[in-house]
C-alpha cells in the first residue's frame, strides 16, 4: 500500500508508540497516509482508538514478520 510517511516504533512499549503516532499524524496533510510499525501487541487496538478520537482513519492493519503494521490516513 502506498504511503507518504513511515513511523517505525519497533521495540517501543506503551505509551510511546501511541504518542509517536499522534505526533506523526499531526505532521501529515489531509489525505496523506502514514505506515506505522510496532512490536507492541497492544498497539493496533490503541491506534484504532486514537484514530476514532482524532477523526482520522485506519485503512488497514496487518501482521508482518511478527510486527504489527497499520496504514493510517489523515482526514
Amino acid at each position: 500500500m502506498q504511503h507518504h510517511k513511515e513511523l517505525d516504533a519497533s521495540g517501543l512499549t506503551c505509551p510511546l508508540p501511541i504518542i509517536r503516532t499522534k505526533k506523526a499524524m499531526l505532521g501529515l496533510r489531509p489525505g496523506e497516509v502514514l505506515r506505522m510499525v510496532s512490536t507492541d501487541p497492544r498497539a493496533p487496538q490503541d491506534i484504532a482508538r486514537l484514530m476514532a478520537q482524532s477523526g482520522d482513519s485506519v485503512l488497514r492493519q496487518l501482521s508482518e514478520n511478527g510486527k504489527f503494521v497499520s496504514y493510517l490516513r489523515k482526514t
Binding site: 521495540g11 512499549t13 506503551c14 505509551p15 512490536t39 501487541p41 486514537l50 478520537q53
Partner: protein, 367 residues
Amino acid sequence: MMDAMGPAPMVLWGGLALSLVFGAVAGKSDFCIMGAVSDAAVLGDWRRVRSWALTVTVAMFGAHLLHHAGFIDLSRSVYQRPLLPWLSLLLGGAVFGVGMTIAGGCPNKNLLRLGGGSIRSLVVLVFLGLVAYMTLKGVLAPWRAGYLDTVAMDLSALGLANQSLATALTRLTGMPGQTALLVTIGVIGFCLLAAIFKDPDFRRDPGQVAAAVVLGLLVAAGWYLTGHLGYAENPDTLEDVYFATNSRTLESLSFVAPTAYSLELLMLWTDKSLHATFGIVSVIGIVLGSFVVARAQGQFHWEGFASLQDLRNHLLGAALMGFGGVTAGGCTIGQGLSGLSTLALGSMLAVAGIVAGSVATMKWLER
C-alpha cells in the same frame, strides 16, 4: 494442614499462591495502571481507569471488612503511620511517575513482561532494584531520610492516631470509630461504584469487571495473610510479631522495595539473618503467573532492547522508579492498590504524585 504449618511458611506459600494468581489475572486482562493513565491522558479513554478504581474499591471493602471484624489491624500498616512525610510522597511519586512512563511500565508491568520472556524487563528490574536498595540503605538513603522525609506533618499533634480518612472523620465529628469507618467506606465505595459503572462500555465488559474484582480480593487476601495468619507469638521472645514481612508489620502487594530485597537475598544468601518474605515471594509469583498465561496463550517470546536509545531510556526510567518508589513508600501497586485500600492520606498523595509525573511526561513527549 494450616495448623501444622508455622506462620512464616504459611505467609510465604500463601503469598506465592496469591501473587501467582495476581500475575495470571493481570497478564490475561492486561491490567496496567500506567496504561490506564495513558489511555485517559492520550486517548481520552477512561475504561482502564475504571478497572483500576474497581480494584481499589474491592480491595478497600475487603481490607476494611477484615479490619472491622477484628482479623487485622490496618492502623499498624506502614501506610497509616501518624507521621505524614508529604514531600517524600509527592516528590517520590512524581519521580516514579516520570520513570514508569519513560520505561514503558511500572515494576508490576515489568514483572508481567518478564514472565512473557522480556529480557529487557529483567534488566529494568535489576537496575530498579539496585537503585531502590541504594535509596533504602545505600548512598541515597541519608539524603532521602535527612532532607525529604524530615519534611513531614505529625498527625498525632492534630489528635489523629493514624492516616485513615475514617480517623479524620471521627476527629472532625466526634462519631464513634467503628461508625466513622462504616460511613467512610460506605460513602467512598458508593461514589466510586457509581462513577465506575456509569460507563455502559465498562458495564458490558464482564472480563474486565471480573478481573478487577479478583485483583482487589487478592490485595485483601494479602492483608489477611500477613496481618492475621502471619501474626503470632515468636517462640524465642514470646512477643506477638508479624512473620515473614520486610516491614515487620502487616503488608499487601508492593513491588519496588521487594525487588530490592530480592536482590539483597540473592547476593547475601549465606547471611543467616536474611530470609524470604511475603514481598520477595510476591515478586516471584507475579513472574510465574504471567509465564503460565503467556505459555498457555502461545504468547511467550524472548524480547530484548531495540536500540541503544531504548536501553538508555529504560535504564533511566528504572533508576527513577527505584528512587521514586522507595521515597514515595510504594509503587502503582504498593501505594496505588494496597495503600489506597487502607484509605491512607499518604497513599492518596503518593498516587497523585505518580499520576502527575506520568501525565506531565506524556504531555512533554507529545510536544
